[in-house]
């Protein structure tokens, strides 16, 4: 029972990271029907930037502050220099362009830091465990859950309560309409793309002390983000949240029951959802 609860909490932690990872992907899809195969790479580079900052300064909090901004800037730079020219192309060419970007980022990281992963230690203030009665839990994992929940609320607030969020939501309902209202939809998209990259980078920062940084975590993360977005429904904030939690908990609980099967299960779930309910749990009709 205790183990189960432990795994459930781990799953929640994983789930909120998955949410941060996926929310940008789902919203950019909603806006321009654009699928970014380089999204996982933002997560990976986020982890590496964390590694660099932590090994240079020893300060994780600095990384938490700076790394997402770096990744957001990187995302916008890529969008402006390469990705935006693919908007006029068919879906499959957009996929190929972003696939090329992902490949380049991955190889660049290997060139700089080598193919072997790097470890990142959690900040000393979050080392160790917390005890609640008999129950013990690593402090850093607890922090991840709390912090990501906070970010999720901020993102939700930004989408629901700000003018920018209203535009994004309207745009993903009907991009043409918003365009007619005189809003520059491609600029809106660029900003969203950058913010999505920022959040994926943040997910990478949070994940780094848990799983280290390695060049292939981007591909893995992209797969996970697809699963989350498909299960939750493309274009849906709530879908990314619920989907992230479902996948995180499923993986975590499965890993103590049938470790080899954990990944198999989530991909099977994704295929099943696409086939039976293509709009996912919260996707628009």
């Amino acid at each position: 029972m205790e183990l189960f609860f432990f795994q459930l909490l781990n799953g929640l932690g994983l789930g909120v990271i998955y949410f941060l990872l996926s929310v940008g992907l789902t919203i950019t899809f909603g806006l321009l029907n654009f699928v970014n195969f380089a999204h996982g790479a933002f997560y990976m580079v986020g982890a590496y930037v964390t590694f660099v900052i932590v090994s240079l300064t020893g300060n994780f909090w600095l990384a938490l502050l700076i790394a997402p901004l770096v990744i957001g800037t990187l995302a916008i730079a890529l969008e402006q220099s390469v990705v935006k020219f693919s908007y006029v192309l068919e879906h499959k060419y957009q996929i190929l362009v972003t696939l090329g970007v992902a490949l380049m980022l991955q190889e660049l990281v290997i060139m700089i830091w080598g193919p072997i992963g790097k470890n990142v230690s959690p900040p000393s203030s979050l080392a160790g465990i917390i005890e609640i009665g008999d129950f013990i839990y690593p402090k850093y994992r607890a922090f991840v859950i709390a912090f990501s929940a906070l970010i999720a609320i901020v993102v939700w607030w930004g989408l629901e309560k700000t003018k920018f969020g209203a535009l994004v939501r309207a745009g993903s309902e009907n991009a043409q309409m918003v365009g007619l209202l005189g809003v520059n939809i491609t600029r809106l998209f660029s900003i969203t793309f950058g913010l999505g990259g920022l959040l994926a980078g943040l997910a990478g920062v949070l994940a780094a002390p848990l799983r280290g940084a390695d060049p292939f975590m981007g591909v893995e993360a992209l797969g996970i983000a697809f699963i989350v977005v498909v299960i939750g429904g493309m274009g849906s904030f709530l879908g990314a949240l619920v989907g992230g939690l479902v996948v995180g908990v499923m993986q975590s609980v499965m890993s103590s029951v049938w470790p080899e099967g954990a990944s198999l299960m989530v991909y099977a779930a994704m295929a099943a959802v696409i086939l039976s309910r293509p709009r996912g749990l919260f996707g628009r009709a």
Binding site: L96, G100, M104, E107, V219
Partner: protein, 323 residues
């Protein structure tokens, strides 16, 4: 018949040239095997318009089945390859039939999910596949017809076998792409709604395209395992699907010779570059992007452009070949 007469010499010339020009037999072998694999991808993308991340499934499946049937059933290599081809066709029919139930990005994601499933299944069934270590010691059981033994026990013999397979498979696919079926696929690619309204059961055309693609890919995957004497888990990885896709696109889809160029480019340039620059895939990512933006027809269209330019310049009776 004229079709075969025209293309057979070209294909034989390619196989001979690869043997004579390339620095090693093993490199030439690899080029021809991957040309078949790129062709499998090109059939789907160039003719049916289906961007699939699922080719690694058939590639890996072919490698495992050709190996396992030789190891456990003791069949000869040729039968092993045929069983692999049949397995590829069956799984491709299944994967295809499921994946095409969705369109656009959902189709792409389904093929991606199926590749991941295949990977984790292969990983989990390590008693059969060797899991992470791969399947070792893949034999090339010789064929024995009435006491007459055909063995492919030297690299020259193996190359000859691969070259014959290459020529036959390419001829077959040229025939298929020039058939009414090939033309119908092109129509479906251009305008699926109209094709449906005209009476075509679009679904079954796509499934058939998957079957052709899956069977030749599995056959080539089997050959690749015989070539290496080894069937690594990486055959079924998503990265493999990506590489196959990139190969087909850089070479040019929609024309069978594009697959040869794509394979040549990736295998040979990869071999040359990786000797002194291990991260040459960085360049590949860039080339993929440039291809999409500036040369969507791939290398083959560039080559035709050069041909056309030359034949105009020198006014010679055009040596035009079409796909």
């Amino acid at each position: 018949m004229s079709l075969e007469l025209k293309h057979c010499p070209i294909l034989i010339a390619i196989a001979l040239a690869a043997f004579l020009v390339l620095p090693s037999i093993s490199l030439a072998t690899e080029v021809l095997i991957f040309a078949i694999i790129a062709l499998g991808c090109s059939i789907l993308l160039g003719y049916a318009g289906l961007l699939s991340f699922g080719q690694a499934i058939f590639f890996g499946l072919g490698a495992y089945v050709a190996s396992l049937s030789q190891i456990h059933l003791g069949v000869n290599f040729l039968v092993g390859l045929l069983i692999a081809t049949a397995a590829g066709a069956t799984v491709a029919a299944l994967v295809g039939a499921l994946a095409i139930r969705r369109q656009g990005i959902y189709f792409v994601m389904l093929t991606l999910a199926f590749t991941q499933l295949a990977f984790f299944v292969s990983y989990t069934l390590d008693e059969w596949t060797g899991g992470d270590n791969g399947l070792l010691d893949v034999p090339r059981n010789s064929v024995d017809i009435f006491g007459f033994e055909i063995a492919i026990d030297s690299s020259e013999k193996f190359y000859a076998f691969v070259a014959i397979s290459f020529v036959l498979i390419f001829l077959g696919m040229i025939r298929i792409t020039h058939s009414q079926f090939g033309r119908t696929l092109l129509a479906i690619k251009q305008n699926e709604e109209r094709a449906t309204a005209l009476g075509y059961s679009v679904k079954w055309y796509k499934v058939l395209a998957f079957i052709f693609s899956g069977s030749i890919t599995a056959y080539a995957g089997g050959m690749y395992a015989l070539f290496l004497n080894f069937a690594p888990l990486s055959n079924v990885e998503l990265i493999m699907s990506e590489h196959i896709l990139i190969m087909a696109i850089i070479g040019g889809t929609g024309n069978v010779y594009g697959a040869v160029l794509g394979s040549l480019f990736l295998v040979v340039v990869g071999d040359m570059l990786s000797a002194f620059w291990e991260r040459w895939l960085f360049l590949l990512g860039g080339i993929l992007i440039l291809t999409v933006f500036y040369m969507r027809g791939g290398l083959i269209s560039g080559l035709y452009g050069v041909f056309e330019f030359l034949s105009q310049k020198f006014g010679s009776a055009s040596t035009q070949k079409e796909s």
